[in-house]
C-alpha cells in the first residue's frame, strides 16, 4: 500500500496538472478570502466573525474543492487503464484494497497540502485582528472530511472507465446533483426534503462552516467515503467475474 502511495505522490509532484490545479485552487481561495474579508469589514459591526466571514469562506472553499478535486481524481484508475499499467499492478503481489487505499491517501495528502497552504490567510488576519481559532478549525476539519468524500467518489468513477474526461464528468454529475438536491424544496416536497437533505453532501457541511462539529456529520462523511471506496473495490474486483479482456 505504501509503495502505491509513494508512487502516486511522486507522479502528482512530477506532473504539471497537479501544480496547475493547486495554483488554481489557491488563486480562487485567495480571491474568495479577499471578498469575504471585504464583506466582513462592511458588516462585521453587526455580525460576529463566524457568520459573516468563516461561514462564507468555508462554503466557498467547499465549492472550489468540488471544482478541482474531480480533475485531481480523474486519472487515478482511468490513466492506469489507458496506459495498461493496471495490468502490472494486478500481477504484482498487491491487494486491490491496498491499491485503492494507496491511491486514495496520496490524493488526500495532496489535497491536505493544498488546503494547508490556505492557512496563510487566517494566520495573516490573526496577526492584525485576533480571533478565536475554534470555528475555523471546525471549518477546516469539515473541509477535509467533505474533500475525502469527493476524492472517494472521484476514485470510484475513475475505476469505471479508461477515459479521464468521462471519469471527471461523471464525478461532477454526482457531486453537483448532491449539491442541487436541496435547493428546490417545492420540487421535492416537505416530507421528502427531510430525508433527502440527510444525504446531501453539502447540507451536511453547513454546520462545520458555522463552526459546529457535529459527530453525526463526521460519521456521515466517514461513512460516505467508505461507501465510495467499497464501490471502487467492487468495480476493480469485477474483472474476476466479468468477461473483460
Amino acid at each position: 500500500m505504501f509503495c502505491i502511495f509513494k508512487k502516486e505522490l511522486r507522479l502528482y509532484f512530477g506532473s504539471f496538472i497537479a501544480y496547475s490545479l493547486a495554483a488554481a485552487f489557491l488563486l480562487l481561495a485567495g480571491y474568495f478570502f479577499y471578498t469575504d474579508m471585504v464583506f466582513y469589514d462592511l458588516f462585521g459591526d453587526f455580525m460576529d466573525i463566524t457568520t459573516s466571514l468563516w461561514n462564507y469562506y468555508f462554503l466557498d472553499l467547499r465549492f472550489i474543492s468540488m471544482l478541482i478535486l474531480p480533475l485531481l481524481t480523474m486519472r487515478l484508475f482511468a490513466e492506469e487503464k489507458k496506459l495498461g499499467t493496471i495490468e502490472l499492478l494486478w500481477t504484482y503481489p498487491l491487494k486491490d484494497l491496498h491499491i485503492i487505499l494507496g491511491k486514495f491517501l496520496a490524493c488526500f495528502v495532496f489535497f491536505l497540502l493544498v488546503v494547508l497552504c490556505t492557512l496563510v490567510y487566517p494566520v495573516l488576519l490573526h496577526s492584525v485582528h485576533p480571533f478565536d481559532w475554534g470555528p475555523p478549525f471546525a471549518g477546516y476539519l469539515g473541509l477535509l472530511l467533505v474533500g475525502a468524500t469527493f476524492i472517494a467518489c472521484g476514485a470510484f468513477f475513475s475505476s469505471l472507465t479508461e477515459n479521464q474526461v468521462v471519469s471527471a464528468m461523471s464525478t461532477y454529475g454526482v457531486l453537483v446533483f448532491f449539491w442541487f438536491l436541496t435547493w428546490n424544496e417545492e420540487a421535492v416536497g416537505p416530507q421528502l426534503i427531510g430525508v433527502v437533505s440527510r444525504f446531501s453532501l453539502f447540507d451536511r457541511f453547513g454546520d462545520f462552516a458555522k463552526g459546529v462539529i457535529n459527530s453525526k456529520d463526521v460519521a456521515f462523511f466517514i461513512l460516505a467515503t467508505t461507501f465510495f471506496l467499497a464501490l471502487t473495490l467492487q468495480s476493480l474486483e469485477s474483472r474476476k467475474w466479468r468477461g473483460i479482456r
Binding site: C3, L83, T85, L88, R245
Partner: protein, 325 residues
C-alpha cells in the same frame, strides 16, 4: 512448476481458451506459438493472475492462481503483451517502485535493481523519463520490471517484438541464461526464436493445443513425407521424368516455388526438390543421375523447418474443423 488442467476462458460469447491442459516442469523454457487471437495471451494472463479462468484449474509452484493468487504473484515475473510503463517516471524510480511492490527487502533492493539494469542494458538511461525513451528501451524497461525480485517463473508475452536485431539477439541470450535456473513461458510469432531459445513448443490455435512437444518430436510427427534436394547439370525435361519414375516419389518440383517449374541456377545447373515416402531415396537418385551421364552437384535431404511444421499443424487443424462441421 506450472500445471494447467482443463482451463477454459470465455469473454461473453467468445471462447478464447478451450479446455487446454499442459504441464511445465521446473527449469524448462517453453515457447507458445500460434496465430493472432489463438489464446496465447489469455493463457498467460491467467497464469499471471490477471484474471481467473472461467473453468478449470491452473497452478504455479503448487499454488492455485485463483485461491492463492498472492503467492503465485510472488513467484511470477510477467511481461505483458502491451508494453505498459509510467511515462512520467524515470527508469530508476519505476524499478524502485516495482521492487517495493514485489516486496524485495529494502537492503537487497538497490543491488537487485542494479543487477536487472545491468542485464537489460539500462544503466545509460537510468535517470531518463521512460516516456522520453525509444520503443526498444521501453521494451527493455518492461522486461526489467519482470525480472525484479528474481522470480522463479517468467511469463513473457512476445518479449522481442519491436526490438532491433541486435537487441533481439541480446534479449534471447538473456532469456537463455535465465532459463538455466528458471521456468519460462514465452509467446512469440518468430519461429526461429523458439528454435533458438526453447526446450519445448506448445502450438495453440483457436484456443486449443495442437502440439506440445520437444522440437525433435514435433519434427518426427509432422514429417510424413520426406524431401531431398538435388542439383544436376543436365536437360531439365528429362530430369523431371527420370526422377518422377523412382520408387516412392510423390512429386518433383522446382526449388523454392511450389509449382512444378524447374529453376535454372546461376551456373546453368537444374535444382529440384523430390517429395517421397519410404526409405532414404538419396542413393537411388544419385545412381539415376549418373546412369544418364549428367553431372551430380548435390543431393541433400531437407529437414522440415519449424515454419513447415507450424503451418502443417495449423492447416491440418483447419481441415479437421471444416470436415467435422
Amino acid at each position: 512448476m506450472i500445471e494447467v488442467v482443463n482451463v477454459t476462458k470465455r469473454f461473453g460469447p467468445i471462447l478464447a481458451v478451450d479446455r487446454i491442459s499442459f504441464h511445465v516442469p521446473r527449469g524448462e523454457v517453453v515457447g507458445f506459438l500460434g496465430p493472432n487471437g489463438a489464446g496465447k495471451s489469455t493463457t498467460m494472463r491467467i497464469l499471471a493472475c490477471f484474471f481467473p479462468p472461467t473453468s478449470g484449474r491452473a497452478s504455479v509452484g503448487g499454488y492455485d492462481v485463483v485461491s492463492q493468487a498472492l503467492e503465485v504473484k510472488r513467484l511470477v515475473g510477467y511481461f505483458p503483451e502491451r508494453v505498459s510503463v509510467y511515462p512520467d517516471m524515470s527508469v530508476r524510480s519505476f524499478l524502485d517502485f516495482v521492487a517495493e511492490a514485489k516486496d524485495v527487502p529494502r537492503a537487497a533492493r538497490k543491488q537487485d535493481i542494479d543487477r536487472v539494469m545491468e542485464s537489460c542494458g539500462l544503466h545509460a538511461v537510468r535517470d531518463r523519463l521512460i516516456g522520453h525513451l525509444s520503443k526498444g528501451y521501453r521494451q527493455r524497461v518492461g522486461i526489467a520490471q519482470a525480472l525484479i525480485g528474481t522470480p522463479q517463473v517468467l511469463i513473457l508475452d512476445e518479449p522481442t517484438i519491436g526490438l532491433d536485431p541486435e537487441q533481439v539477439v541480446e534479449i534471447r541470450k538473456l532469456i537463455r541464461a535465465l532459463g538455466a535456473e528458471r521456468t519460462i513461458i514465452l509467446s512469440t510469432h518468430i519461429l526461429s526464436e523458439v528454435s533458438s531459445v526453447c526446450d519445448r513448443v506448445i502450438i495453440i490455435n483457436r484456443g486449443r493445443i495442437l502440439a506440445s512437444e520437444s522440437l525433435a518430436d514435433l519434427r518426427a510427427q509432422v514429417q510424413r513425407t520426406r524431401r531431398v534436394r538435388v542439383e544436376v547439370e543436365g536437360p531439365e525435361s528429362q530430369l523431371q521424368t527420370v526422377l518422377a519414375q523412382l520408387p516412392g516419389v510423390i512429386r518433383v518440383r522446382g526449388d523454392g516455388v511450389s509449382d512444378l517449374r524447374r529453376e535454372a541456377t546461376e551456373n546453368g545447373s537444374v535444382a529440384a526438390v523430390i517429395e517421397y515416402e519410404g526409405g532414404d531415396i538419396r542413393k537411388a537418385v544419385s545412381q539415376a543421375v549418373l546412369r544418364h551421364g549428367w553431372g551430380l552437384l548435390e543431393v541433400r535431404s531437407l529437414e522440415p523447418t519449424l515454419e513447415d511444421m507450424y503451418l502443417q499443424l495449423i492447416r491440418d487443424a483447419e481441415t479437421q474443423r471444416h470436415t467435422g462441421q
